[in-house]
């Protein structure tokens, strides 16, 4: 079982510039575990302390937002494409 994970610019420092990483995981959560083993600190950039995907991160499996799928339990079939993309926001007046 191999899936491909597309790495966004802010995480490429961790992956030493690699843009596309192959993982052998059955679901998204396992894929993130594997990436964290290979690139320590990877998980903390995507998930909060409760294991929820951070507010400014969107994760897609085969072009579908995992919020509409099974979240971290979304299965990764052989050849699945995982995209991690920033949820861009326009910002506002800083809160004091």
């Amino acid at each position: 079982m191999a899936a491909r994970v597309r790495i966004p610019t802010p995480l490429r420092q961790l992956t030493k510039g690699e843009r596309l990483i192959e993982v052998g995981a059955a679901d998204l959560g396992q894929a993130i575990d594997e990436l964290d083993r290979r690139f320590p600190g990877f998980r903390a950039r995507l998930l909060d302390e409760h294991g929820e995907v951070l507010r400014f991160v969107n994760i897609f499996v085969n072009e579908r937002d995992v919020r509409f799928l099974g979240g971290l339990r979304t299965p990764l079939a052989d050849g699945a494409e995982v995209s991690i993309v920033p949820a861009m926001a326009g910002g506002a007046v800083p809160r004091d």
Binding site: R6, P8, T9, P10, Q13, R19, R45, L54, R55, F56, V57, N58, F60, E63, D65, R67, F68, S83, V85, P86, A87, M88, A89, G90, G91, A92, V93, P94
Partner: protein
């Protein structure tokens, strides 16, 4: 004087003025910071009043420099007193910000003017965007004026006139099989791999600042004061957030007096993730698959949704939604009372104001400004089946009297 750098909205990390939009540390959005050289109040008002009748009169508050040869002069649109609509809604001091009067007939010209100036600052050759229609239209026109190549990405199923009007400027139009949210994700991925100025992606910190000018103009046109309430449509939420930011900047710098503006967001019921979260009193905006007549705000995963909720709550405003039926009724009411024909998004805005006013949630004596963000001619299919056909007659006086005068009771 002017922009000094970028700062992460969430963690405060600072960056140079580059074509970047996300914090490397926390994925938070980047925001432009300014230094106003100690200028305030009267000095800033004088500088504004000596500027051109366009968004560029607020140059001191924008992150990019006007490029005279590229300028389509967007903004400085009329703020109209709406007495007849106000009477219908029971509001005594209602104004409409008529942003249909822009170079490509929507508010998007404001933000795109800033994006094209950013494209020049960073020496990009291609101007691009992920769009529900109006943004593509504005990008294509501004790129044409600047002599840049335009490549615009739209979802399938948007209004025909938006595609035709965009095509006129000869961009490459890429129709993506999916929703706006799919288009947006694709453009984020394209921005990672190709050196293009994508208006609402990698030059977003600059682009988005253009929307502050709506807030600036409203304050200036009310005689240098903030209204009691602004009602604005919420798609990505950027316009809503930046109107608020503009009014806050004016207050912080003493351009206008401090005043609480009830920021009120309008969404379509078929794509109302922020209104749903507002009603449920949660901070979590759950994405939806859009199903609405109001294509230009059919964004199921709004980038600024969380900030919209925060501002609406803190300011004593609200986020409300209306059905497609209420939207069409509101488009008609606006046209019939004020002579202003808006696209469905303007109908959503007026519809939400109507709903809140009829529920007694708006004080009749509040100064209310409703943002009418785009023109109805680009979305005829939304209304045409609801309208009566023309009265057809023979070219005779008898036919006129029989078919026109008699039914009209004249």
């Amino acid at each position: 004087m002017g922009a000094t750098g970028l700062v992460c909205r969430e963690c405060g990390r600072r960056y140079a003025l580059d074509p970047i939009f996300v914090c490397d540390a926390c994925f938070g959005p980047l925001e432009v910071e300014y230094d106003h050289d100690g200028l305030n109040g009267e000095a800033l008002r004088t500088r504004i009043l000596s500027g051109p009748p366009s968004i560029w009169r607020y140059q001191d508050f924008l992150p990019v420099q006007r490029v005279p040869a590229w300028d389509l002069a967007p903004g400085y649109t009329p703020l109209v007193r709406a007495e007849r609509l106000g009477k219908a809604l029971g509001l005594n001091r209602l104004y409409l910000k008529d942003d249909t009067r822009n170079p490509t007939w929507s508010f998007k010209d404001r933000v795109v003017a800033c994006a094209v100036a950013a494209a020049r600052m960073f020496r990009f050759d291609v101007l691009s965007c992920a769009s529900t229609g109006n943004l593509a239209n504005a990008v294509a026109a501004h790129a044409a004026k600047a002599g840049l190549r335009a490549v615009v990405f739209i979802p399938t199923g948007i209004e025909r006139a938006k595609v035709v009007a965009t095509s006129m400027y000869r961009p490459t139009i890429v129709e993506v099989e999916g929703t706006y949210d799919d288009v947006n994700r694709l453009c984020l991925e394209i921005g990672e791999e190709h050196r293009w100025a994508i208006a609402n992606v990698n030059v977003r910190p600059y682009y988005s600042e253009g929307a502050k000018t709506l807030g600036f103009e409203v304050a200036e046109q009310l005689g240098w004061q903030a209204p009691d309430r602004v009602v604005a449509p919420v798609g990505s939420g950027n316009m809503f957030v930046k109107i608020h930011k503009g009014l806050e900047e004016f207050q912080q710098l003493g351009v206008i007096a401090a005043h609480r503006v009830r920021m009120t967001g309008a969404q379509a019921e078929g794509c109302g993730p922020v209104a749903t979260a507002y009603r449920a009193q949660t901070d979590t905006v759950v994405p939806v698959i859009p199903e609405t007549l109001a294509k230009s705000i059919a964004i199921g995963n709004p980038a600024d949704g969380h900030y919209v909720l925060d501002i609406a709550r803190r300011s004593g405003g609200a986020v409300e939604s209306v059905t497609d039926h209420e939207t069409v009724e509101a488009i008609r009411l606006l046209a019939e009372t004020e002579g202003l024909f808006t696209e469905p998004t303007g109908g959503v805005t007026v519809g939400v104001l109507r709903k809140l006013a009829l529920a007694g949630a708006v004080d009749p004596d509040e100064t209310v400004v409703a943002i009418i963000s785009g023109i109805g001619l680009k979305a005829l299919e939304a209304v045409e089946s609801h309208l009566p056909a023309a009265v057809r007659i023979k070219p005779t006086l008898a036919s006129f009297e029989e078919r026109v005068l008699q039914p009209a009771g004249a």
